[in-house]
């Protein structure tokens, strides 16, 4: 029996709308949203779906919208499938999987007209919630699972896998792919594997038996993901730190940065453990070529990094807004003493504690000028996990080349969501740029070493490391010092050093990653953006072009700004700056530092805490163009 929109006995049958309404053959182009309760294990099921789509060769993105809570509050997962590769958040949901009674009403309201809603019809659904333009697909998930699983824990967990099975049937997910994924995950744990297989089958079979599967929008195998991997930015960041040769890390847990260090620690345990064949009995048979300090706070975390950088290790910390605020004083110290340090800021929604599980790009201005006094820092803005990997390596090179803190401004969307990105590559010829570090040989050859003397063309002076040679000894200090490193309160000697710091910052511009620029014939305006906004903005540009508004595109990737940034703005009478904050922080930085004429810049600001959608960008640009 094919039961489309089946509901529990006694309920009205949902109106079934002709396939034509949804559009026949909408293959590999739709969005679904899954509403759950957090702490109930739904994340596993949701990423199973997402990963299976990816393995089918279909471009896909998954966005986890979770609360700042451990158990019991609403959480959502959004999957966007788009053959053209537009993977920004879509706010049009073709299918809603509504597994949270608390949010039924809101979730049902969000389904696109003509879309579908899958719910657990083990319990009756309040008829008032029904919508005429939405197809309700009831699956008695709880009942199916209670019948087959005994422990309550298993029942809760397997219900998730069961809805994944139903979704698989509805979307035509390849069963082999799913089977393979389960096998990989639980291969060695037979009981668990069987339970998962069973639950998946329960959902799948119920759907095929009761609904006309697949739905009008569904999947077909493709090859668009063959050279891609699925990775979240925090894992990629950790991987970058590993490959860059970071040996010391200091950190303090904070959402959404925590998984940077979790991953770094796992990676190190895997790749940085060196066997010690000569270990005496009782001694550990290996040693760890890294040291991670879980610090007592963010001040300590950065202190550890600065100390390690001074002593010659590549060191980094990762944090989010509140932690960065606490790091202000020490960032100024590292700037003025010229000690390399890498700080990853996985941005979340502020101000203050704000929304810790929501995304913003709202630490830009603070990061650029962090600390009192005249300070300017180097910033890198990765746009996806692939760039997190790349930019971490660049960050260490820049920090040591320019002897200064480098902040990598990632965000929650990049950091904690899985993105489909090209496989990361590594050049084995890479050698870290340690910048100007003098060893005993160089010191011997010179009459006298002075820490802040003898600048190169970048304004960088040579440093030495403790523990190497007495002739290189110097006294690092955050107080006024002259070219020779001596304490000073003299205006001329003081200025000489801070002037060089400014020239060093200017010189760095040419060494930062260039912006990504994409031009179109006959473009009438420019759209500038940063970081995780890229997918939404690129899609928006396509939509605008289709409507006759052609725009060039630039994504900023570093501060100080590369030359191209100013020329792009000069080349456009009007530029929109799209960013995820209320105050137009990137725009401000462009005005101050790239001397962008204020009248040429307009802001597109999305700061509700969710990843941007193309529609939001289009709407704000269109409104301003009309106005």
């Amino acid at each position: 029996m094919n039961r489309l929109g089946a509901a529990a006995a006694g309920e009205d049958r949902a109106t079934i709308r002709a396939e034509g309404v949804v559009g026949r053959g909408r293959v590999n182009d739709f969005a679904i949203k899954l509403a759950n309760v957090n702490g109930t294990g739904s994340a596993t099921a949701n990423s199973l779906i997402m990963q299976a789509i990816f393995r089918m060769g279909v471009p896909v993105s998954g966005k986890n919208l979770f609360p700042s809570n451990i158990q019991g509050l609403p959480t959502w997962y959004e999957i966007r499938v788009n053959a053209k590769g537009h993977l920004a958040r879509s706010r049009e949901y073709d299918l809603m999987v509504a597994m949270n009674g608390q949010t039924y009403a809101a979730d049902i309201a969000e389904v696109s007209s003509g879309g579908y809603l899958l719910f657990d019809d083990s319990w009756a659904l309040d008829p008032g919630l029904r919508r005429a333009d939405v197809t309700f697909l009831g699956v008695p998930l709880a009942r199916l699972c209670s019948d087959r699983f005994s422990s309550s824990r298993e029942r809760i967990l397997m219900k998730n896998v069961a809805y994944a099975g139903a979704v698989a049937a509805l979307l035509a997910l390849d069963p082999e792919v799913l089977a393979g994924l389960l096998q990989e995950s639980y291969g060695s744990r037979q009981r668990l594997l069987e339970a998962n297989q069973l639950a998946l089958r329960l959902g799948h079979d119920y759907a095929t038996q009761n609904f006309s599967c697949p739905l009008p929008f569904h999947l077909e195998r493709s090859n668009r993901t063959d050279d891609l991997i699925l990775i979240d930015g925090n894992t990629a960041t950790a991987l970058g730190a590993l490959y860059a040769g970071a040996t010391v890390a200091g950190w303090y847990p904070i959402t959404p940065a925590t998984s940077v260090m979790d991953n770094f620690s796992h990676l190190c345990a895997r790749y940085r453990r060196e066997a010690n064949p000569e270990a005496a009995p009782g001694d550990p048979p290996f040693s760890n070529n890294y040291l991670i300090v879980q610090a007592e706070d963010e001040l300590a975390a950065l202190g550890v990094v600065i100390g390690a950088g001074w002593a010659g290790a590549r060191a980094f910390t990762s944090t989010s807004g509140p932690g960065l605020s606490l790091m202000n004083e020490l960032l100024g110290l590292a700037y003025y003493t010229e000690i390399p340090a890498v700080v990853v800021d996985v941005q979340r929604a502020g101000p203050s504690t704000g929304m810790p599980t929501r995304v913003q790009q709202a630490d830009i201005l603070m990061a650029a000028y962090a600390s009192h006094g005249d300070t300017k820092h180097l910033l890198l803005f990765p746009g996806d996990p692939g760039e997190c990997f790349e930019f971490m390596v660049a960050a260490f090179d820049l920090a040591e080349r320019f002897q200064t803190p480098v902040m990598v401004l990632s965000d929650l969307d990049i950091g904690m969501n899985d993105w489909a990105v090209p496989r990361l590559s590594w050049d084995d010829a890479y050698q870290p740029d340690r910048g100007r570090v003098l060893g005993p040989r160089e010191l011997e050859a010179m009459p006298q070493f002075h820490r802040y003397d003898d600048q190169d063309e970048l304004g960088v002076t040579a440093r030495t490391l403790p523990g190497t040679d007495s002739r290189g000894a110097y006294f690092a200090r955050g107080s006024g010092h002259d070219r020779l490193g001596g304490y000073t309160e003299n205006e001329v000697s003081y200025q000489e050093v801070v002037d060089r710091l400014l020239s060093k910052h200017r010189a760095a511009a040419a060494h930062m990653p260039r912006p990504v620029i994409e031009t179109a014939a006959a473009a009438t305006l420019g759209v500038i953006t940063v970081g995780s906004c890229e997918p939404a903005v690129k899609e928006a540009i396509e939509i605008l072009a289709a409507r006759g508004t052609v725009a060039d595109y630039m994504r900023i990737r570093g501060f100080p700004f590369a030359e191209e940034v100013a020329s792009f703005m000069e080349g456009h009478e009007l530029c929109f700056v799209v960013e995820l904050n209320r105050d137009g922080q990137l725009r401000s930085l462009l005005e101050i530092e790239a001397r962008a004429p204020a009248q040429r810049l307009r802001s597109v600001l999305i700061y509700g805490g969710l990843p941007p959608s193309a529609e939001q960008v289009v709407e704000q640009i269109a409104n301003q163009l009309e106005a």
């Binding site: 010391v248 070529n289 002593a311």
Partner: protein, 351 residues
Amino acid sequence: MPSITKPLIPLLPLARNELGLTMQDYQGGMSTLCAGCGHDSITAALIQAFFELSLPPHMIAKLSGIGCSSKTPAYFASRAHGFNSVHGRMATIATGAGAANRELTLVGVSGDGDSLSIGLGNLAHAIRRNVNMAYLIENNGVYGLTKGQFSASADVGSRSRRGDSNLLQPVDPIMLGLSLGATFLARGFSGDKAQLVPILKAAVAHRGFALVDIISPCVQFNDHEGSTKSYRYMRDHELREIETDFIGQHEEIVGSLARDRATAVTMHDGARVQFRTVPEGYDPKDRGQVEAYLRERTGRGEIVTGLLFLDESQQDMHETALTPPNGLAQLPFSKLCPGSAELESFQDGLR
């Protein structure tokens, strides 16, 4: 001449240590502290300790926060790298420097304001981590550099030069250290170099975090009648209970103390520390007993100096972390980067 002259730190001009270095080789720049400041005496003791320990200057890393006390690393060991950081954070920076290169001899110099006010949390956690370093608190009960406010170590009833009385309980770094599981706790007096030098040597030799609280009168703001950190007060109230003599690994330094009633403790590197324990059966390794003893003496208004507590059995930060014996900063890049092949296979798991 119409400028202020400072007493030069007296040196034994000719003596050479095992490395062939003289005391001069451990000296630093000219002090800019007030004439008579206790901190300068500690500087002199440190120079002597380094000399006697035959430390290679380039392996010393001297660190400090901000304050008069924190200026002192500029006045010793100019052949060593130094780091005058920011107020209260020296412990964290030393932790990082030690993490990067465990072969360094880390010597931190701080003040009571730097360590017990703004830096208290960070100090406590460096103690917990048992970072391998000597951490000196040049304790004068005031903020010298900002002109004489009470610090957290000011005793109840202690009077400021301006005349107000401190009414808050003092933070006693030794009691604090005992409560936090510190592995080396000593107290000295800047005016008692004979006792201080061996304490400092033991602190440097200790495997782990060695906290040395040194009463160091501020002649400018806390050396008047009514102060409990003045030279006068110390001479009257110091209880030089537990004498310390440090015996180096290579060379036996014969102290001026009788060897009877002595407890010898062997440090991890083979060096030995001698305690002269006046109270019968004083055991510097028994935390509870030390605590009780100090509480009782402090209650009587006595200031116990000497090496007060020692636990060489605890692992230091690197031992806990199972790092290699040499500095992480010295590891070649080839040991750190897994290379492209591993990256490929790692990514096979990301599909």
